[in-house]
């Protein structure tokens, strides 16, 4: 089959797409640090966060760390990425899905005392959807496997 004009156009389109893809990849790589929606507690502790301005911090709420203030609005809790933790203070209404042990994203600033004062708290949920009974069964199975693992250590 002879090399026709339409084959040339297919090749040109392919090359064009590859070049645009490459350009997009380079741009996204260059802006890698600006593409994150939130920083992790480890990054906050290491000081890899913007100084002076506000930013978002994301992680899990440490179980048992949630304390409510006397005014009924202010709350304090601890966010962890399982490596480092950051204490958070917030005054306002928490989203319904906010729970200890669940994901959360808070917007605010770190004070001199190392406490993150949040102006907005958002709940981050995962992509697991199941009926309550299944969730209960899963939890029980996990607890069982843990009790089996611990004596072996």
């Amino acid at each position: 089959m002879a090399f026709k004009a339409r084959h040339k156009r297919f090749v040109l389109i392919g090359i064009g797409l590859a070049l645009v893809g490459l350009a997009a990849m380079l741009i996204l790589n260059a802006f890698q640090s600006n593409m994150v929606f939130f920083y992790t507690p480890s990054q906050v502790v290491k000081g890899e966060v913007p100084k002076g301005t506000g930013f978002r911090i994301g992680g899990l709420v440490v179980a048992g760390s949630l304390k409510r203030g006397d005014d009924g609005l202010s709350v304090s809790f601890v966010i962890t990425d399982t490596a480092k933790t950051v204490p958070v203070f917030y005054k306002g209404v928490l989203p319904d899905l906010f729970k200890e042990g669940k994901g959360v994203v808070a917007q605010g600033k770190v004070g001199a005392d190392g406490v993150f004062t949040a102006s907005e708290v958002l709940a981050k949920h995962d992509e697991n959807y199941m009926p309550p009974e299944a969730a209960e069964a899963l939890k029980r199975a996990q607890a069982q496997s843990q009790t089996l693992v611990i004596p072996a250590k």
Partner: protein
């Protein structure tokens, strides 16, 4: 048996074929949507975290999938039109764009309605939401560019270039929740991994996705038939067709 596919690239041949196909896809869409809605709202269990509010997923995720799939199909038709200089390919790309834009808008609106009660915000500028918004602008840009150029062949070429450049955005949308940390949760279904969803919920979502898919084919065929008539209005086959329609109408009127 060898089918001559190029035969169907002629609008004159494709016009009646599309007319015959439309009812099939439309009925399939209606039946799948009814079954899908029944599974989604009657059979699927309540979620352990989000209660009943999670049920918007049955519209949100299929709409978001279709917004990306339609864009890829549209760009593929545009590329074929560009390379082969085939009229019908460009018309198919043009016919798909409005449906793609509608599904993108639907995904954004349902996502917003879901985000407020669950996350606590209507909108956040994370990578997933922002790239999906850019997809809407790409669709609108494609439609606007095509309709702003009077010469259809030049409009096709300009639109095809825009569609092809914009195609890089689709993998960015899809992988955004993997590449960067976002407020949006990860993909509901991953290749090679067991879905993290109860089976009935998954069934409802897939049925709705299939229904949206069939709907897309049906309306794209309807739209492409209109585009064919409009663009080919000076050709003999369209003139014959309109004469035939007129005479059958006048017979029906006389009766």
């Amino acid at each position: 048996m060898k089918i001559n596919w190029f035969k169907y690239s002629s609008p004159q041949v494709f016009y009646p074929l599309a007319g015959k196909l439309i009812p099939w896809f439309a009925w399939l869409a209606a039946i799948l949507a009814l079954v899908g809605l029944y599974v989604s709202f009657m059979l699927a269990p309540t979620d352990f975290q989000q209660g009943e509010a999670y049920r918007i997923i049955f519209v949100h995720v299929p709409a978001a999938w279709m917004s990306m799939v339609i864009y890829i199909v549209m760009a593929a038709w545009a590329a074929l039109g560009l390379a082969l200089n085939a009229r019908l390919s460009a018309m198919m790309a043009q016919a798909l764009a409005p449906t793609g834009a509608i599904f993108t808008l639907l995904a954004l609106v349902t996502g917003s309605l879901w985000g407020k009660p669950m996350w606590g915000a209507w909108w956040v500028w994370d990578a997933r939401l922002t790239s999906e918004l850019i997809l809407l602008f790409l669709y609108l840009g494609f439609i606007a560019l095509q309709s702003s150029i009077d010469d259809p062949r030049r409009a096709d070429r300009a639109g095809a270039l825009l569609a092809l450049v914009g195609v890089v955005n689709v993998p960015i949308i899809y992988f955004s929740v993997k590449w960067w940390n976002t407020l949006h949760q990860g993909s509901s279904i991953n290749m090679g991994a067991a879905p993290k969803m109860a089976a009935t919920m998954l069934l409802g979502m897939l049925l709705m996705a299939l229904a949206f898919w069939m709907y897309t084919v049906a309306v794209a065929l309807m739209r492409v038939r209109c585009i064919m008539l409009e663009r080919e209005r000076n050709t003999d086959w369209v003139k014959e067709l309109s004469l035939k329609t007129l005479s059958s109408q006048s017979i029906a009127g006389a009766k």
